[in-house]
């Protein structure tokens, strides 16, 4: 399914991208989930993380590479993710939109409260 890179990001997509960015070279599914759990303070299912990673990669917002197999994993390789420049741009757009919306809300709340 072709997806426009300018489509706005969903909230969970943003969390996953931010986790990938913050993990740097250590970004594979297991720590991504832990990072979201730790910083966003919400339970996250594995399925949600996997399908979001898959979708983000199809959108061209993530690239992935398969590392060497490790013994803890029964000899299976890890798939590491890296955010693309498009992802960073999309995140910035989402953030700017939220900040503008908040500024407007703050102005109103400021008027309402004494």
């Amino acid at each position: 399914m072709p997806t426009s890179p300018h489509m706005p990001l969903g909230e969970f997509e943003q969390l996953v991208l931010l986790a990938v960015l913050s993990l740097g070279d250590e970004a594979y599914a297991v720590p991504v989930r832990h990072e979201i759990h730790r910083l966003a303070r919400r339970p996250v299912t594995r399925g949600a993380v996997y399908i979001t990673l898959e979708r983000l990669e199809q959108k061209g917002l993530l690239t992935s590479t398969v590392a060497d197999p490790t013994p803890q994993r029964g000899g299976r390789a890890r798939r590491y993710y890296r955010a693309t420049p498009a992802a960073v741009a999309a995140l910035r757009r989402s953030r700017a939109a939220l900040e503008r919306m908040w500024a407007a809300v703050d102005a109103t709340l400021g008027k309402v409260s004494p």
Partner: protein, 889 residues
Amino acid sequence: MTTTRMPRGAARLLAWAVPPQRLVDIIGDLEEEANGLDRPGAFVWWWYWAHAVRIAARFAPSRHRWVNRGGAQRQRDGVMAAFARDMRFAARGMARRPGFTLVAAVTLALGIGATTAIFSVVHAVLLNPMPYPQADRVGVLYQRNLSKGADRDLVAPGNFIDWRRETSEIFDHIAAIGPWGLDYLGDGQAEVIPSALVTRGFFEALGARMHLGRSFVAEDYGPSGDDSRGDRTNILVFTYEFWQRRFGGDSSIIGTTVRFSDTPFTIVGVLEPEFNPPVYPGRDIYAPLNFWVGADEDRRSAYLGAVARVRRDVSLEQARGTLQLIGSRLAAEHPRENTGVDISWVPVREQLVGRVERPLLILLGAVAAVLLIACSNIANLLLARGSERRGEFALRVALGAPRGRLVRQLLTESLLLTVVGSLAGLLLAHWGTKLVLALVPAGIPRLADAGLNVPVVLFAFAVTLLTAVLIGLMPAWSATQTSVNATLRESGPATSAGGTQHRLRGAFTISQVALAMVLLLGSGLLVRSFRYLLGRDLGFNPERVVALQVYNWVRYPEAEGRIAYFEQALAAVRAVPGVLGASVAQAPPLHPDYPAVQVAREGEATTTESLTAWGTVASPEYFRVMGIPMLAGREFASTDGPGAPPVAIVTQSLARRLWGDESPLGRRFVATTSFGAVTMEVIGVAADFRHTALAERPRPTYFQPHAQNPTGAMVFVVRTAADPAATLEAIKNAIWSVNANQPFYAIATMEELVSRALSQQRFAMVLLTVFAALAGVLAAIGTYGVMSYITSQRRKEIGIRVAMGARPRRVLWEVSRQGIVWVSTGVGLGLVLAFVATRALRTLLYGVTPADPLTFVAGSLLLFLTALAATVAATRKATRVDPVAALRG
């Protein structure tokens, strides 16, 4: 550290659900985490399964995307290929029978085209949102005096000011608009620009936005925003269209000064495109409305349009309740003017499209009936074809084709037929919409949007699909009900149609005739009603009279100037060759501007119970020019001047209301207007005539000579010897010879005005008649088709009878009997349906009841004879059957 492995079943589940390239790392991740759990093996086993199931559940819905083209895809290809095969087969079948295809496609094109054309207008007018934001909260306010039959009277300034003061709790904005005209010397020729004066909040009430500049603010209405001090601010707002047309869309116009009516005005804003208010529509320029001092006491001259937006936190019922309270309070406070007057808030939707809603819905129903008749026609044809193809179907079933496959094949054929028909239908709809638009009465908003836009085409598409199913399903079902054995054993086509098919044909014929009957009677009633209106005595003679409206308040501020102007201009016009007579009147017949005035015999006080008459102004020769007979007394003369005693001419009905059967000549009566009371002596009695709509009864009216009530808003009426168009330029030049800068606000012949007054009736009548004719023709063709099919099926039997010596007339009767029964049943059913359906027409009928016996009898006879003729035409060939050929064949 021991490493656990994922249970095989869980891994398989994942392998089924997740993309293959992800499988290895997902399992790896799970095993990595499981190994960190440090829990007993049974727990870990459960853990693996639980997570495998949950992950698989997440991926399963989008599984098809990464599964290689498997069985499902191949099956889809199969469906598409089968559909394409069906289509090719259907197309070959159509090409083999061009006559059948042409008849069917044209019938469908007519049905779908007419339906789409009407729908495009319905969509534009009724389904499109109103051109105001939150339009359901916007309404027009009227004075209503039901005891006097006044449902929607415009508002007097005093009442408006009261309402505005009292309604702040229910309205966000309440504002008034009054008509105005500004003269503009654009390209050297003087022209009146229709304009309006509006109070504060007018644009806000309608939710209009500015394209450029600003709208009016409080300061524009006098120093403290108080608009009741007679202040004047020379600022204007243009509509977008006027700004584009006259100023080329030049945005630097904001803040500049433009001269109108010899006065400089500052342009402060341009409205958004397509702004048009629901009252006094079509104005190009807006200016602030400031009331004159004392306007708050004027509750008689009802000329303001008022609009109001109901507050969001107030329900419409609440608002109406509050208005009722305010109305009765004001009636109590001002019993002289306001007894019986209440306030009605009419939603803009009703205001703008209420008039055409019912005719449009009736037409949509009518056109749907035409489409249904067309459908049943084609279904009949397909049924007949299906009977001929029974051998083919039986063979295919015998060779192993599932019956569902046959149904699909037949539906594909009807779909192809319908698509061809509907493409032609769209073309017809394109022209049809233009025809409908030419007939729609003026003043309906958003008509320009009517046309083949996306929703309309989607509608046509949906109608096409529905039609395809309607025409295809019955024949398809019927065709598959054949017994393979019985059909294959027969050598040729079936000798007689099955019982079900026969009943189906009967049902089709009966319903066609019944539907056509309803349309025919409906259109008959409208035609009768239209003839009634046309044949009504107008009370004046509209032939070869042209009316030219002028306003010269500004140019001649003094009464003497206006009197002199009209006298000189009339003298000039009368001198034009070909002019038989000329006069001026404030409001000639079919003119919208009739002020209602309370009148009483001299010596009797006017009360709320007083007679209301229309008071207007005319100059000498007016009644002769308009062809209104003078029944007694004389016309105005030049001696009825400003200094002479006040005189009046009354219409017969006013004379009768004031003085009964006594002669009114020489008697005096008092008319009370917002400018005070005037006592006049009656010098003449004119016959009654129709003022506004032709459907209304004549209203009591009195006329004052222009010299004694010298208003500036007058209409020249000129009767010419030949076509007025030929003399019009000379007439205009004659009027201009007095003042070259005097523009004409409107020019129309009286015949045009009469025709315009009938436009609403004409609209419904013409279209319903077209549809009824279409329905009648289709029903006749349908009956012919059915009967000739039945006759051809009975050829063998007829041949035997003729060979045995049956008389031709007897044979004809035998064959036609069934058709006559069907047609009679259809006519009877149609009569019953029409009896109910024509009630919907009640509000559109004049001088004829919805169950008019003459229409019903004539209509049923016409349709019965038509259908009978079709039946006999189809069965007549039965009597000419050559027995030898029939038996052999």
